[in-house]
Symmetry: C2
Subunit: 208 residues, 2 copies
Amino acid sequence: MLDEIQIIKPDEIEKRSMEIIAAELGDRSWPEDEWAVVRRCIHTSADFDYADHLVFSTDAVKKAREAIRAGAVIVTDTNMAAAGINKKSLARWGGSVRCFMADEDVAEEAAAKGVTRASVCMERGAKLDGPVIFAVGNAPTALIRLYEMIQAGELKPALIIGVPVGFVNVVESKELILKTGVPYIVARGRKGGSNIAAAICNAILYGC
Amino acid sequence: MLDEIQIIKPDEIEKRSMEIIAAELGDRSWPEDEWAVVRRCIHTSADFDYADHLVFSTDAVKKAREAIRAGAVIVTDTNMAAAGINKKSLARWGGSVRCFMADEDVAEEAAAKGVTRASVCMERGAKLDGPVIFAVGNAPTALIRLYEMIQAGELKPALIIGVPVGFVNVVESKELILKTGVPYIVARGRKGGSNIAAAICNAILYGC
């Protein structure tokens, strides 16, 4: 059985994987900075649907990298996404990852207001100084709250990564973000997740 | 735009999502404990391929729940999977999650031996007392090392969750686990990930 395993150095595996992804996508092509995001999402999920689902506002990746180099904070809606982001790469530019989901006072405020914790977390993120990238891999209510704050003129995010996954309000919440006029990277449809949110952050970071 | 959003209570969303998943799978059915795993993997990815890819050894979920109730430790190959597992549910039974990937001495040992950190992490897990569930969402080398230790009579895991994702040695490493004779839940093929590993752990936990 073991003789079917390819002997390949750990640092070669990612390179070889990216070559396989490119080969299987055939003639399709993207601008270089968007391609870095598309292939990393496929690399983290082995799901080629992301080639069709990912949409980018004009210069989204370029603007995100400028924000990172200016010390942007990345706010996530799950600790799982936070765990997946390369925090060493981010720290090189002075940035950090923040996730407020497990904070006790967030749970209390959400219960008192009758809203989700994710919604309260986005409000916390909106109050941070400097450029903020919101990476949403789980909660459509997070995207809805971001949309509301942008519409009310209360928030100008450096980027919204809108990739919640699921079956209820997920598709609709992503479409809202496309209407905001702020920089976005969105996986349209049902698919996404904390792993995809982290993969997009890392694709941005690795090109900084 | 906002009028397209369904008003639905947070605790209703999961229930409604599971109903949608069941409806879309039509006539297909699984034993109740396997169904809990299948639907949670689809819930966390919106990817119905898991209905075809997931395979279970006889009574795998039942045996895993017995191990959890006996205080099993869950060993993961990423901090992202560890972050996604419901640690409160696990702690009710005395168990905990361990991930050695970020430990400095693991990196040193891996470099000295010329193996991957994931491989060293599995060796650490094998030395733990009591029942151990290995949840592998990333590294095929982790599954290969588990296979070797089992073949050598050095390890009897309570369960192997074999769901690494990727393009190099991933398919082959999963097939190895199917030959071990130990309890397993495996997503055959390329797909999987830390999110899937955590989802399977949680499906097991929520039925304890």
